[in-house]
C-alpha cells in the first residue's frame, strides 16, 4: 500500500531518491540550494540510504562528480537551482554528449541581478539547449513520480541521457502538501538496475569525451539529436507503465477543458494549477476558454502541441522568463515555431509574468486571458506584454 504523507516537496524528492536507491549524490549545499540535498545528507548520515554523499566546492564540481560516478556505472543524482545551475552550465553539455544518465532536480529560480532566490523559469530557459531530457511539474506528486521516472527513462539502454525534473522554486520546493509515496518493492520493480553498456573500467580501458575534430564532430551532434528525439517514445512508454502500476497519468502535453475551446492559455509548471481555477471561473461565466499545459520540454512534443491547439482561434502563452530583445517569451517562441508551417493554427499572443516569485492569482490569469483576447482582435505594437509590471 502506498502511504499518503504530509511532507515538504524538497524532502519528498529526497525520499524518492532514496527509493531509487542511488549510489552517489554530489552537491554544494548553500543558497540557492534547497532542502533536497539536505534531506539526502540526513538519509545517508542516518544509514537509511547507502550512498556516497560528496560535498563538493561548487555546483560545477557537483555535476563533474556526478559525471564521473555515472561513467563508472553508478546511479548519480544532484539538485541545483538558479545561479547554481548557471555555474554548472558547461558541464551539463558534457553529461548529455557523453550519454551519462545523471538525474537532477532543478528548483527553478530567477537569475541575478538584482539578487533573487525567488521562483521563475530563467534558469531553466538558460539550459534549454544542453541536450538533457527536461520535464516540468505542477505539484509535489508529479515531482516525486517524475523523479522516479527520470531514472528509468535516462538509464534505458535506448536513451542513456541525463534528465532534469523542473519544479518551481518556493511554490513547489518549499510547499508541504499530501503526497502518495510509493512502496520500495514497487519502485524496485519499476526501476531496473543501472547498467552502462560501456562504463569506465581500468581492466577494459576506454576514452570518454575525446577530441572531436571537424571530420567527426557534426556526426556526433547528429547522433545526439537523433538520440534525444527518439527518447520521446521511451518517455511515453515509461509514463504508460508508471500509470499501469501507480494509476497516475502523465503526457507530454496535457489539457484542461481545452476540447472545443476557442481561446486557450498555455502554461508550464506550478502556475498551471492556479490557471485551472481561472478557467473554471471563466467557463462558469460562459466563456469558451481552456488550458494547455506543457510537461515535456525536451524533447519538444511537436505532434502533441499541434494536436492540442489546432482547433483554437487564440492561443495565449505565459512565459516565466524573458528572452531579452527577443521575439516573445522563450516558450512562446518555440510554440510559434512549432505551428508556423501548419495550415490551421491559432493566433498566438505572448505574455511574460510571474518573474522572480511574483504571484499570479486566479483573477490575474483571468486578466491575462481577457487581455490576450483583446490583443487578438486589436493587434499590438509589442512583440509581447509583461503582465502586472509597473512602469
Amino acid at each position: 500500500m502506498t502511504k499518503r504523507v504530509g511532507i515538504e516537496i524538497s524532502q519528498a524528492i529526497g525520499e524518492a531518491v532514496k527509493l531509487a536507491n542511488i549510489d552517489v549524490v554530489a552537491s554544494y549545499p548553500i543558497t540557492p540550494q534547497t532542502h533536497i540535498v539536505e534531506h539526502i545528507a540526513e538519509l545517508v548520515a542516518d544509514g537509511e540510504l547507502d550512498a556516497a554523499y560528496i560535498a563538493v566546492e561548487s555546483e560545477h564540481s557537483a555535476m563533474s562528480a556526478c559525471l564521473g560516478a555515472s561513467a563508472v556505472g553508478a546511479r548519480a543524482f544532484t539538485a541545483s537551482a538558479g545561479q547554481g545551475l548557471e555555474l554548472m552550465h558547461e558541464v551539463l553539455y558534457v553529461a548529455s554528449s557523453m550519454r551519462l544518465p545523471v538525474v537532477m532536480a532543478v528548483t527553478n529560480r530567477a537569475l541575478s541581478s538584482p539578487l533573487s532566490v525567488w521562483g521563475d523559469h530563467s534558469d531553466a530557459m538558460a539550459v534549454r539547449d544542453t541536450g538533457w531530457i527536461q520535464i516540468f511539474t505542477e505539484n509535489g506528486q508529479e515531482v516525486v513520480d517524475n523523479v522516479l521516472c527520470a531514472f528509468r527513462i535516462g538509464e534505458d539502454q535506448r536513451v542513456l541521457l541525463p534528465v532534469m525534473i523542473h519544479l518551481d522554486g518556493f511554490h513547489l520546493s518549499h510547499m508541504i502538501e499530501p503526497i502518495y509515496m510509493p512502496e520500495q518493492s514497487e519502485v524496485d520493480k519499476f526501476i531496473p538496475p543501472y547498467q552502462h553498456p560501456l562504463p569506465l573500467n581500468p581492466d577494459k580501458p576506454i576514452t570518454m569525451g575525446a577530441f572531436g575534430p571537424p571530420f567527426i564532430y557534426s556526426e556526433t551532434k547528429k547522433a545526439q539529436e537523433v538520440n534525444l528525439t527518439a527518447a520521446k517514445e521511451v518517455i511515453l512508454q515509461c509514463w504508460k507503465e508508471f500509470a499501469s502500476i501507480f494509476k497516475r497519468y502523465y503526457h507530454p502535453v496535457e489539457t484542461y477543458h481545452s476540447e472545443g475551446a476557442k481561446v486557450l492559455l498555455l502554461t508550464m509548471g506550478s502556475f498551471s494549477e492556479t490557471a485551472m481555477i481561472a478557467i473554471d471561473t471563466m467557463r462558469k461565466e460562459g466563456k469558451n476558454v481552456g488550458l494547455v499545459k506543457l510537461r515535456l520540454w525536451r524533447p519538444f512534443p511537436f505532434y502533441e502541441i499541434r494536436q492540442a491547439v489546432s482547433h483554437a482561434e487564440v492561443l495565449i502563452v505565459l512565459d516565466r522568463a524573458l528572452s531579452f530583445g527577443g521575439p516573445a517569451g522563450p516558450v512562446c517562441s518555440e510554440i510559434k515555431a512549432a505551428l508556423y508551417n501548419e495550415d490551421k493554427k491559432p493566433k498566438i499572443i505572448s505574455f511574460v509574468g510571474g518573474l522572480g516569485g511574483r504571484d499570479i492569482t486566479p483573477d490575474g490569469f483571468g486578466e491575462i486571458i481577457d487581455r490576450g483576447i483583446e490583443i487578438s482582435r486589436t493587434g499590438s505594437q509589442q512583440e509581447f506584454e509583461m503582465y502586472g509590471v509597473r512602469g
Binding site: 525567488w118 511554490h171 506550478s270
Partner: protein, 188 residues
C-alpha cells in the same frame, strides 16, 4: 461562520519563533486526518527577528490548487505581540474572520489600542511557553490556541507531527499546546 470548503490561515511571527513550523505542523495534522492541506512560508531569505509570514490552507472537500500567498485569510495568528505595532495583521482578513493573538493584555484593551474589529481571541502564550518549555518560543502553544478557537483539526492529530518534529522535546511541546488549548479565551 468560516467557510469550511477552504480555510486560509496566515501566521505572523518573527524569524526564529517558529511560525513556519506552526504552519507545517498544522498542515501535516490536517493531512493525517485525510484532509487536503498545504503550508508554506513567506518566500525569501528571512533573518532571525525579522517579521515573517507563514500560510496554511485546509480543505476537507478538494485538493488545493492555488499556491499564491494568502491575502484574504479566514484566520490570522500572531505569535509576537510586538508585531501589532509594525504590521497590519488584520490586512485583508475576511469580515467574518478571526484573529488570534499572543498577548498578556485583555482583549478589550487590544481592540481599542489597535482598532481590531474582527472576532478576537487572546492567549498569553509567552508565559505558557516560558513555564513549560523554558523559552519564549510560542509556535506550538499558538497551535493549541488556534485549535481551541477554530476546531480546524483535532488536538490529537498534532501529536504525531509534533513527535516527529521535536523528538525528545515533543512531550513538553505537546504539554504547552494542551495548556494553551485549555486556557484560550474565545469571546465575540
Amino acid at each position: 461562520m468560516i467557510d469550511t470548503t477552504l480555510i486560509e490561515i496566515r501566521w505572523h511571527g518573527r524569524g526564529g519563533q517558529g511560525a513556519v513550523t506552526s504552519a507545517e505542523l498544522l498542515a501535516k495534522a490536517a493531512i493525517n486526518e485525510g484532509k487536503y492541506a498545504h503550508a508554506f512560508p513567506s518566500f525569501g531569505p528571512e533573518r532571525r527577528g525579522a517579521p515573517v509570514l507563514a500560510f496554511v490552507r485546509i480543505s476537507s472537500q478538494q485538493s488545493i490548487k492555488i499556491r499564491a500567498e494568502i491575502t484574504q485569510p479566514d484566520i490570522v495568528v500572531v505569535l509576537d505581540p510586538g508585531l501589532l505595532r509594525i504590521v497590519n495583521v488584520t490586512s485583508g482578513l475576511k469580515t467574518n474572520g478571526m484573529v488570534i493573538i499572543n498577548t498578556k493584555k485583555q482583549a478589550e484593551q487590544l481592540r481599542q489600542e489597535f482598532n481590531i474589529n474582527h472576532l478576537l481571541v487572546t492567549i498569553d502564550a509567552t508565559s505558557i511557553a516560558r513555564q513549560i518549555l523554558g523559552v519564549p518560543i510560542t509556535n506550538t502553544t499558538m497551535v493549541g490556541a488556534l485549535i481551541r478557537a477554530t476546531g480546524v483539526v483535532k488536538l490529537e492529530s498534532l501529536f504525531d507531527p509534533l513527535s516527529h518534529r521535536f523528538g525528545h522535546l515533543a512531550e513538553r511541546n505537546i504539554d504547552a499546546m494542551k495548556k494553551a488549548y485549555q486556557e484560550t479565551v474565545v469571546k465575540e
